[in-house]
Point group: C3
Chain length 305, copies 3
């Protein structure tokens, strides 16, 4: 190779590295969730900290309207949405009533390669059960705490979680550099699972589809399928608050809302493929005073012709 050819080839390599080095370090999405609400500046402070770490980050939200202190709701919302974000996405979830106690701050890596930055208080219960845990690290606050925030003990979302999540999403640190392995099990919330007995499925109401008042159960399609349901089949549905019967009706299993008249009830598989009940163009939960939580039981029995 001539001298000048060597010179140009070197320059081209330099250019290529400069140009595509950026792409090689491509950011992953950073997705926030909290119970902070949107009325004050708390969410903005977290995003500002993340943006200060790397102004190329793609920053999004799950929701910030988790009911204050409701760790279960946080766990449910993560589980509802994470599947729809790509591998590598970093979720920062801050429902943290125990801020300032000795609960750990962790990053969970799921089997499908997503990251969950959160206090270890049960928020990742459903992610762990449904996606599987690859590894869990304790955040080393001596390295991953916003400079100058040492006197603040009540806003780890800003000072620790947003900061660590941004470093991880931007590639500034690797997952292993978050801190040491968690040497015990993560904290998990207790919750009931659905059961089947012949042509009867029983479950709970883990959450409401709050905007429309549809009632979601924890009975998965897979279990429900064992009843060989076909669209149009009738089911006897009972809803109980503890032992009190709150709703009892024969309801058709259909594909979607428009398959029944306005105002009529329908049994369907919701967007998470769990058995659900609704009124077409109306609010089931409000109409029948149904709420969610471990006290609420849902029973559906297939009516044989």
């Amino acid at each position: 190779m001539s001298h000048s050819k060597k010179y140009f080839t070197f320059m081209l390599v330099v250019l290529l590295v400069l140009t595509f080095g950026n792409l090689a370090l491509a950011d992953n999405a950073l997705v926030f969730q909290s119970d902070f609400g949107l009325k004050d500046g708390a969410v903005s402070a977290m995003k500002g900290v993340a943006y200060g770490v790397d102004d190329d980050l793609d920053i999004y939200d799950v929701t910030h309207k988790i009911t204050p202190f409701d760790i279960w709701e946080g766990a449910y919302r993560l589980n509802q949405t994470a599947d729809y974000w790509p591998e590598g996405t970093v979720f920062v979830s801050v429902v943290d009533p125990g801020v300032g106690t000795d609960r750990e701050s962790i990053v969970l890596k799921s089997k499908n390669g997503q990251y969950f930055v959160t206090p270890d208080n049960g928020t990742v219960t459903l992610i762990a059960d449904n996606m599987g845990i690859e590894d869990v690290r304790i955040i080393d606050e001596s390295k991953h705490r916003l400079e100058g925030s040492e006197a603040s003990h009540t806003f780890h979302g800003r000072d620790v979680y947003a900061y660590t999540g941004a470093k991880l999403a931007s590639g500034e640190i690797t997952f292993e550099e978050v801190g040491p392995k968690l040497e015990k099990d993560i904290v998990k919330l207790d919750y009931q699972r659905a059961t089947r007995d012949n042509n009867i499925v029983k479950g709970t109401i883990p959450i409401l589809d709050i905007q429309y008042g549809n009632v979601w159960t924890n009975i998965p399609k897979k279990m429900f399928d064992k009843l060989n349901p076909e669209y149009g089949d009738m089911f006897k549905v009972e809803i109980y608050n503890k032992d009190e019967l709150v709703y009892e009706e024969e309801v058709p299993f259909v594909s979607s809302f428009g398959d029944v008249e306005k105002g009529e009830p329908l049994l369907y598989l919701n967007s998470l493929l769990n058995v659900s009940i609704a009124l077409n163009w109306d609010n089931f939960a409000e109409t029948y005073n149904v709420d969610s939580g471990p006290n609420w039981k849902f029973v559906a029995k297939k009516i044989e012709n």
Copy 2:
């Protein structure tokens, strides 16, 4: 040209293509609207799907607080905001009470080169009337449905609209590749238009400026201008709910809120250049129990000196 000159020129062209190919495929904004609210993970699931299509997309929102099932409100909000986004912007609007019925899923291209991805249920009524329709395509769900979402029939916002909108905004598909032409008219909502009779203009209250309680009418500046209004002119305003007179007052036409004392009424042109009435620093709609909808009539008569 020498051999080495050819070699380097080739390399430079490769580099240029790699570097600027990205820019040539520049994304257009993807702007979401829905009646989902912000309390759960539905909006995040849609954005995650879009981000999975192309992590360089610029994703924004109109609002997600459309009153559930209120297609008219969705139509109004699109019309209120689209003008302020650039040509090429892709709007995804999901107010979809008929999900799962045989309503079509469409993409409308407006005369000014914006795209509206939506169920064909009237949501684009005002866009069609005010911007004009260039072309309408039916979404071919056999090609443009999120992989693995086939068992879900209740969340086309996530499985079809966000996915198709993202492909279109990113340039992964062209408008023509969305699917076949819609061979009939789009569904349109009925709505009343304003009228003028000499020095009297009559209209309806299509929507409230809800945050402040200002009352917006459908009477456009162009029609109002035929009354030769000058700032300071007095108008007799009447507001009716069906036939019941709810408000009657002589009100000055002014340029802006600060032209009258705090608490005083004013007639003005709102940010969409429609005739509107308000109380300075106060809430007109609450004070006088005025709401919006086809039953509400607004009459303004110019008082000649």
Copy 3:
């Protein structure tokens, strides 16, 4: 240098300039705040205008849920969050009850190099006091007004502030090109400052930590430190609404919420390092009917052992 070497060097320089010119013009974040709420299209119209100026802008929010017309709340939220955004960030704050009056439209540059685009109505009172003013410019609306918006007099947030903020954040104009220097003082809101008398600190309640009902005061850590507080020390706290005693209790000063039992009161330094009072896992403000504003006084006296 040979002819061909010159040719390639020239081409390489062209490439380098094209590639890295972009980076040299790196955008600063554009962060919006308003009292518009999120129910309609107003925020989206502002962002659309900004995106139309430069589709590479990084657009974020403080909050849009400022109480309508509440300039003080707007001032507080800016002050709460600005510190967590980088130098160069452009804030656009639109709490503008005086739109259309002769109040000026300004851009304030703070000593730490951030920009605040806002009506001159007191919104930057706390930023000016805490960060210091570097310079203030009046927006020259003859140059910095959205084309075609001249007939609109009620939405400067969209037509002037978003547009000017976007030009500034994108580097399309310099700060000096915003317009002439403001030759008078900016408008400032009156507010009370905290005082100390021996082992007693007195302040007001400038705002509630609204999502959780924690009560924040304006007493800074620096002043409180003069009482030599140690974690576990007891303080007699009194809260007054004008002269009426609303709350009186001995409360421990602790590091964080988890240091007291659920439901118990605690005195702590909040995320802004101001003295605050709360109930662990409960809502102090609701429990004791405490609100914020200049009528509310907070007194804490250290109890000597």
